[in-house]
Amino acid sequence: MTAKERILAKLRASLDGSTPVADDYDEALLTTPWAYAADKRVDRLREVLEAVHGETRLTTAADWPALVVEALSERGIDELLISPATAHGQQLAAYLALSGETLKLKAYDRPVEEWKETLFFHTPASLTGTLGGIAATGSLIVWPTAQEPRLMSLVPPLHIALLKVSEVFDNLHEAMHRQRWVNGLPTNALLISGPSKTADIQQTLAYGAHGPKELLVLILQNA
């Protein structure tokens, strides 16, 4: 017998004659305490995210590129990792072309093995979209894709994320249900709820452990 067969045989013998526990899923308990009025939902998300040093700015679908330029120049950052294949990537490129800003755009357009050193040590910031947000926990729903790979939202010390107000859900149950996650999860699905942190040294909070030290969320109010 293989280890699998031995283990399963033991477990089955232990359950012999018993009936499974019923699925008595208490949806109300996961939603009622975590429901927000439409005009309070984004406030709640911002409050929870900012409590853990996330930064949020309210803006619009037209104005966010200018905010990105401002945020980067405040920090003395002159290049940004962004996907030219996405609508927001194209929008930013068009804005820069028109405004004559000197921000350099870089693309994550080849396997990471080909440029790991640059990604890890010479990429100060990235910008990605999101699939939505969760108000109860101050979270972003980020599903990396071929255009916006996993490490984009992890390696650069500054991660800028675009969040549409229309895609903010009250709680995780609602998000999972309305976006029908069960129909197909990608290779990697993430909830991101702030910049990286740890309290491993004397329970003292410090930010920027291994993931981004800063998370800036631009909230698009008319999207």
């Binding site: 232990s14 359950l15 012999d16 004659g17 018993s18 009936t19 499974p20 526990v21």
Partner: protein
Amino acid sequence: MSHNPRALANATRVAPPLEAARSYPVKPTDVFVFGTCVIDLFFPGAGMDSIRLLEREGIKVHFPQAQSCCGQPAYTSGYTGEAREVARAQLALFAGDWPVVVPSGSCAGMFRHHYPELFKDEPETLKLVESLAARTYELAEFLLNVCRIQLCDAGAPVKVALHTSCSARREMNTHVHSRALLAQLGAVERIDHAYESECCGFGGAFSVRMPDISGLMVLDKTKALAGSGAAEVVSADCGCLMNINGALEKQGASLRGEHLASFLLRRSGGK
């Protein structure tokens, strides 16, 4: 539902449903008192004061002389068979429908919550166990919620600290009942002590099996009680009192704990 013993034995357990708040009967004319072995040998005064408090409420108290111990020391030490035999002997003494009042939350908890476990494989005995469990009350609980006692304070102003036994707290809510009774005494100010809900380190056999850890726990508890600013210490459980007072005496401190029943009787002019 299957009555196949193997099906029952192999079933995956789910936590019991959340208990509704206990409902209480009207004050009875008669009660049993289960004195507990610790009170019997070390704090009989607390037992007599409990009886006097009940009698002052107009209740006739019955103390079956054949009673001994609830069985908890053997039960917690893993000597389940021995605990079961001692429990069985107590069961026989409290038949009927009089409430059983116990001046110890941990022994009351033993009757109410652990006897059903002990006799789960004896359906006939279980009926008697369930009857007993349903009418077992810890003393403070009984005075407050069944007698609806109204205490008048005849004493001078005093600050007291209350220590509640862990099993009394978690199984019988004794801290809530004790606080409510103390609050009835107008000149008594109950003050919190540091780490109030933390164990005093008694745990029955734990205090002799793991004396180093237990010793540190009772040291911390006595420090917290002494440091609270309270002049007196009260507890509804004599196991803890034995532990705390024993440590205080060893430390050469003058502070001592007293059973809640004795304190209440004294303050309300009953002694």
